[in-house]
Subunit: 323 residues, 2 copies
Amino acid sequence: MSPTDFTQKITAALATLDYGQQPIALYEPIRYIMALGGKRIRPLLTLMGAHLFTDKLDPVLRPALATEVFHNFTLLHDDIMDQAPLRRGQPTVHEKWNANVAILSGDVMVVRAYELFLDVPPTLLPTALRKFSQTAAEVCEGQQWDMDFETNEQVTIEQYMDMIRLKTAVLLGFCLELGALLGGASPEDADHLRQFGTDVGIAFQLRDDLLDVYGNAATFGKRVGGDIVSDKKTFLLLTAQAQAKAPQQAVLAQYLGQPTADAAAKVQAITEVYDQLGIRSQTEALINDYFQDALQHLERVDAPAERKALLRQWALELMARES
Amino acid sequence: MSPTDFTQKITAALATLDYGQQPIALYEPIRYIMALGGKRIRPLLTLMGAHLFTDKLDPVLRPALATEVFHNFTLLHDDIMDQAPLRRGQPTVHEKWNANVAILSGDVMVVRAYELFLDVPPTLLPTALRKFSQTAAEVCEGQQWDMDFETNEQVTIEQYMDMIRLKTAVLLGFCLELGALLGGASPEDADHLRQFGTDVGIAFQLRDDLLDVYGNAATFGKRVGGDIVSDKKTFLLLTAQAQAKAPQQAVLAQYLGQPTADAAAKVQAITEVYDQLGIRSQTEALINDYFQDALQHLERVDAPAERKALLRQWALELMARES
């Protein structure tokens, strides 16, 4: 099995899912957002987690899809909250329909995600659902922290790290743990895989922060410096604020929280502050710490080396991305 | 056990629920809406359903609370969609906080509801969750139909009956079925109880439509004729539209879909149309049909007569209410 094989399995299975038919305004938005695509990372991780321990992946497929339906629910509701106009280059559900439709369609997606878990064998179902529910609540907590931070002037780096862990990383960790448990892994191996996924998730999010400033505009896909223009409290900004001496404090005070007439000048000035403080190398070092921790957890998992290599390769490619 | 004993059990158990602590903006709204009160009908039905077959109600308690948490989630999200300013006389969550907080707190409530089901014995858990998930999706479908109807000029009585069944009745039926299953009932008895609850729920909603027009303003609690003023497509209006002859058609055409300068005149004119067509007695007859069907289902349940009498009494009191 190669990652492409897994992804084909997932794509084929997603195409057969029946979310419901009537009323159309409830179910059409679900088909729409699920069809927008994406890398299907979460079901991929679930299948790869199971594949470490078993060749029988069909029983894992529907629970794997549950994680993708849940993830897309979070995108749908987050887009309402963030008033985002576009998702994967297409109009968001609340733009294409309206906010009420987006709220209610999202609600049904949570229900459908739980239904997909009902294919988990009864002996594992309580554990799987308990872990999923805890993870789902944590993802909501991460989203609330993220919104809280927009108006909170006293965000610490520790709080920020906890936010990205909750909002992004714990679900990746859960997917691997779920796959492992369904594949018959020991609780210890399942736990190492969860920590592998969580660590990679945190590293991935930190890299996202880094690419916003130091990415290649042509390949990153977003405007470089978008976080800087919007005063977003990223790891880079919070670290700079914590370490700035008088000259850098002056530049930060000049630009942060002010309407910006010249966005390019702001991006350049803040980037210079980052450069002076060595923020790039500090961020890269932290990313590397998490990545090495992740690999150590993977190393400890008692599974065939050539199967673990697939997960290592997946993580390497994720970290090497430029967009 | 009397209904008061059940309600005391429920109130005490609700007070001990821990929805989560941080971030406060996520969890405080949940505590707020759950503390607004209400008659706790859904967990009451769950306990009364179980009590028909067992004296051991403690294992039923947390799943019973799940239905109340889920019901309050629907109120929270419905209030956003309906832009309702008040809930049980207090500011709604989206008014007291904001819509984003209301969306996300509601999302976590769905997760917490599913978590409360995890106290169901493993052998019954898949069945309980499958039935709950189907019911939860149906409640969302009912809410979407209700919103669709606001702008749909061609709503049939059949569609309306289906909407109130989905939006209100199926959850009451599920609560009784859940209690029955947890109490050890046969599938047949659980099914009769579900139908009893669904029928009572439909009768209850029809009575709500009736009270809006023919209720006593002092005891009904809402302004009499509120549905008429807002052109709400109730059973009464849809039946009147289907049966109106030329004179009544003229009155309906004069008042429906028009801004109303004199609300009292509109209420009086439409009520006269209802009187001419005998809408009140037709509605009362239909309510009675559902109520009698409900009682027949209860009759068929194989459980002690004095315990079934509690459910019969509950239904009678619900139907006798003037508000």
